[in-house]
């Protein structure tokens, strides 16, 4: 079983690494933020798997903290002052 | 009664009192000045009591937390710690007095006064904590405290330039600390302890230990601004308010150097340090000449003094090549003596520069024309302090250089003689340039009145710096308590 947990965690880690392409490409700030949000969910899954594999509940605490704080960065992003994503939007409109 | 008074805990109060006072000054900004003054009055007393207790009694060393060393943190009360605590208490006291005048109550920047005292008291307390620490990780923590409070104090002047200088200093400081910490990590991984004394007994000349030494020395060299890693120093020391510049040059640069001394003589004596020692000596020699030449070229007084610090740091690094087996005590003593006397002299010079800036509105050398007349006391303070920077007898600077020359001759490293000599001549030249402007016969009467706390306290420091050679015997005896060195200091003086 441990091999399965770690193996699955490994694949999830790879999806994060691949997902970084979206952060690099954008094109809007919102797209990048969205990718970070997705990484949070994946990281929770990885931590749960690692915790089960290592039989350690402390790792699940880390996962719980991630879950509790999953929205903080994104909410800050939406609510902060002077957001203008306009400078990047041109890229998005014509982008298919 | 003597049991009550002669107790080593005075040395720990030197850390706890200023930190507590910093918190108090932050809580009650209206009273910050008086809290600062009270602390400044108390700390020299504590330092004196602590030194007496160590020299007169033979109590067991104390630790923080009361745990034995691989587990707990050892607190040092050896000669190096004692002299640095004493110098810090003295210089800190004078800087505090000066700051009372420099940051008046009715300042247009209320915030400056409000935050100077907590930050300065933090810096003072963390310097003291650093000097008594005998634990590599604890030294890292205290060094971070010293760096961070220095950064905040540099930025205190406000404005884009000061902020940029502070930020650059922060990055440099973090880089140096991280390099040092990486070395500490390697040592901890190998020996499961970060206690200096225990490590000194265990360390052998493996390649990994050499790597750790290289990392730690590199980090500390960056933090103490040895050529060519001095590039951040002139801006940082010049942009800061004058009392801060004084503290930076007198104490903060030395903090990293003290750690380096402890590493070199106590942690790594078993390693093959021949090449590193000569490299440091070479860089020190270049620093002496380069710093002095740059000082000679400056048009602003504060920059001139800052470059002079670069040169003086170069002398401190001559300790490492000169510390050969037969001259180890000499090199050590010369280094410690130079640190003490440079702290006194350089801080006095920065305070004078600050006062001139304050009164003349600029510290351009040309604005000094005729300053010898109306604010003559400043010129006197500057001249007296400068004697130790140049190295004229009977100043401590002269004495330290004399010891270095002795050590260089005994070990056959004659090439340091022309370096020291040219450094002395160049220092005389740049000081003469300042005095030439100051004593120019120009009638000026437009200087505003200077508060007396900005005039007289620096004089104390420069007189001490000047007369240090005459009273050097006692401080040297204290500096050699528990010092990890042997050999004769000079022909007529053996520890």
């Amino acid at each position: 079983m441990t091999g399965l947990y770690i193996g699955l965690a490994l694949i999830l880690l790879l999806t994060i690494a691949v997902g970084l392409v979206r952060v690099l490409r954008g094109p809007t700030a919102t797209d990048r933020m969205l990718a970070a949000q997705l990484f949070g969910t994946t990281a929770v899954a990885i931590l749960l798997l690692l915790g089960q594999a290592g039989n350690s509940t402390a790792i699940w605490d880390v996962a719980l903290i991630f879950a509790l704080l999953a929205a903080v960065a994104a909410v800050t992003f939406v609510r902060r002052r002077n957001i203008d994503t306009d400078s990047h939007q041109e890229g998005n409109r014509g982008h298919h | 009664m003597t049991e009550l008074f002669l107790h080593q805990q005075w040395l720990i109060w030197l850390t706890l009192l200023p930190l507590g006072a910093a918190v108090a000054a932050f809580l009650a900004p209206q009273q910050a000045r008086w809290i600062g003054l009270a602390t400044a009055l108390l700390l020299p007393v504590c330092a004196l009591a602590g030194i007496l207790s160590v020299t007169l009694t033979h109590a067991d060393p104390i630790t923080a937390g009361g745990w034995p060393t691989p587990l707990g943190i050892e607190l040092r009360r050896d000669g190096l710690a004692l002299v640095m605590l004493a110098v810090t208490a003295l210089v800190g006291f004078i800087i505090s007095c000066y700051a009372l005048g420099y940051f008046p109550v009715h300042d247009r920047h209320y915030d400056k006064v409000r935050y100077f005292w907590p930050l300065w008291l933090f810096l003072w307390g963390s310097c003291n904590a650093l000097f008594v620490s005998g634990d590599l990780f604890n030294l890292y923590v205290t060094l971070e405290l010293v760096t961070l409070s220095s950064v905040a104090l540099i930025a205190l002047e406000g404005g884009k330039q000061a902020l940029a200088a502070a930020l650059r200093y922060l990055f440099i400081g973090l880089l140096g600390s991280l390099s040092y910490l990486l070395g500490v990590g390697l040592l901890y991984g190998s020996y499961a302890t970060v206690d200096i004394a225990l490590l000194g007994e265990m360390i052998s000349a493996t390649r990994l230990n050499h790597a750790a030494m290289a990392l730690m020395v590199a980090g500390l060299v960056l933090k103490s601004a040895l050529f060519p890693l001095h590039f951040w120093l002139p801006q940082a020391h010049t942009m800061a308010p004058a009392p801060v510049s004084a503290a930076l040059s007198a104490l903060v640069v030395k903090a990293a150097y003290v750690i380096l001394l402890r590493l070199w003589f106590e942690v790594f004596p078993a390693l093959d340090t021949f090449a590193v020692g000569h490299l440091l000596g070479l860089l020190g020699s270049i620093a002496i000449v380069w710093g002095s030449l740059m000082a000679l070229r400056q048009e602003r007084l504060k920059l001139l003094i800052a470059y002079s610090t670069v040169a003086q740091i170069g002398y401190l690094y001559l300790v490492f090549p000169l510390a050969q087996p037969e001259t180890m005590a000499a090199a050590w003593t010369g280094g410690v003596l130079l640190m003490m006397t440079h702290a006194c002299g350089k801080s006095a010079m920065f305070m004078v520069a600050g006062t001139i800036h304050h009164t003349a509105g600029s510290d351009r050398l040309s604005r000094l024309a005729g300053a010898g007349g109306p604010v003559g006391v400043l010129a006197v303070v500057f001249t007296l302090a400068a004697t130790t920077i140049i190295g004229l007898p009977p100043s401590g600077g002269f004495f330290a250089k004399w010891i270095f020359i002795n050590a260089a001759l005994v070990t056959g490293q004659w090439w340091y003689l022309p370096i020291i000599l040219s450094g002395t001549l160049l220092a005389a030249a740049y000081i003469a340039r300042v005095l030439g402007w100051a004593f120019l016969d120009v009638k000026r009467s437009s200087y505003p009145v200077i508060p007396w706390v900005m005039k007289w306290p620096p004089l104390v420091l420069s007189v001490i710096a000047l007369l240090f050679g005459l009273i050097a015997y006692e401080p040297i005896q204290i500096a050699l308590i528990g010092a990890p060195v042997h050999g004769s200091i000079m022909v007529e003086m053996t520890p």
Partner: protein, 99 residues
């Protein structure tokens, strides 16, 4: 390998396509609004399956609650963030993608 392990393993394997789909969606969907789906649906379902797989392995009720709480929190956060971001994007004048 007991029956519980078997179920758990198959649940874990089932979760994998969801995570992969989420990442694929993040990379290949044409605009912001579409990518939001990848975020809120696919990955949260994948996580749900992982949580389920671990829950049936759990040896105490407390652990079950903790796992469930973690999943619910991620769900709530995902939904809130998706709503806020979509709302914001609409206000900023993002046009939904049309073929």
């Amino acid at each position: 390998m007991g029956i519980i392990d078997l179920i758990s393993a198959s649940l874990l394997l089932c979760s994998l396509p969801f995570f992969l789909a989420g990442t694929l969606g993040l990379l290949r969907f044409p605009d912001l609004y579409c990518r939001l789906h990848a975020l809120t649906k696919a990955d949260n379902l994948g996580l749900g399956l992982v949580v389920l797989a671990l829950m049936i392995q759990a040896d105490s009720f407390q652990v079950v609650i903790r796992l469930l709480l973690t999943w619910l929190l991620v769900l709530v956060a995902g939904a809130t963030v998706a709503h806020l971001i979509a709302h914001q994007a609409q206000q900023d004048g993002h046009q939904p993608w049309r073929r």
